[in-house]
Amino acid sequence: MSRQAARTGDPRKVNGELFTLTYGALVAQLMKDYENDDEVNKQLEKMGYNIGVRIIEDFLARANSGRCNDFRDVADVISKVAFKMYLGITPVVSNWSPAGDEFSLLLENNPLTDFVELPEGHDSLNYSNILCGVLKGALEMIQMDVDVKFVQDHLKGDNITEVRLKFIKRLEDAVPVGED
């Protein structure tokens, strides 16, 4: 029995399959409710955004990652710290634009898509679109306006899953009217 006790999981972790299938249930439900790939993409991104604005606090509280000096630092922290921490994977950062304001995250195995096959006729569905929302929401909370989108998706037959992030501008803190 003691061996079994030792195997009981870390309370900070959740079974990945439970997570994957739960996400699957959500996407399936959305497909049923909206019946339109683009609408589902939008809805997923919105949900991701809500997650992002909350997850960033957890991240800053736990990761201790310090300040990023440029967008390259940001990319590194996203892939090596944030993705590692929340999804247990480390995407490869690559395809930098010459100006250094745009890069791609290459996901070799995406935990959201285990067990998943896209049925025919859903070529515009970005199954993992929630990730875009999460990244956008989280970065917005630290004053970065970033455009995030899927360019390649393993589920659609591409060799790799690629998420593209483009830095748009620094957001200024909005000071409430009447305060200095």
Partner: protein, 187 residues
Amino acid sequence: MASIGKQKASNLDKSLSKGKPEVNVATFALLFSEIVQYCQNRVYTVPELQSKLAEMGQHVGTHLLDVLFVREKGFKREIKLLSMLIFIKSNFWKTVYGREAEKLEQANDDERTYYIIEKEPLVNRFISVPKDKGSLNCAAFTAGMLEAVLNGANFPAKVTVHWHKGTCFMIKFDESVIARDKMIDSR
């Protein structure tokens, strides 16, 4: 398929992963929170919300069932009621939630009814129920999973969720299940 040009990999060509890839509990909690909010925006009452969550749970349960039997039991199905319940209490719970369920009990007055009791199920850990929705228990999601697993294993049952010593999943089996079990026993 060839006409599409790009070849999609079929899941059946891949071998089933052995491992237990794990994700951060915060990731799951935030996703679940979005699910609850989404469901809530589409219903009016607490029971409706719970049944919506249960529906999603069922989706998860049906998909988990096969994976579990293949991995934990080497393709063998459970045919006896009690062993199925124990399978759920230990194997199922351990795989999904990292530990065994706390209690499994049978109702004193009804041989069709069993209870699984958990003080604090994972899905409820980060949820504070608003005052005006006192009866809401988001573990309805887990109840849906249980129901799908039982139905999929051919033990037709209804699973409902209640607040009792924490969270109590009430499993009410179909008459036929009890009859069948007695038949197996008498052989």
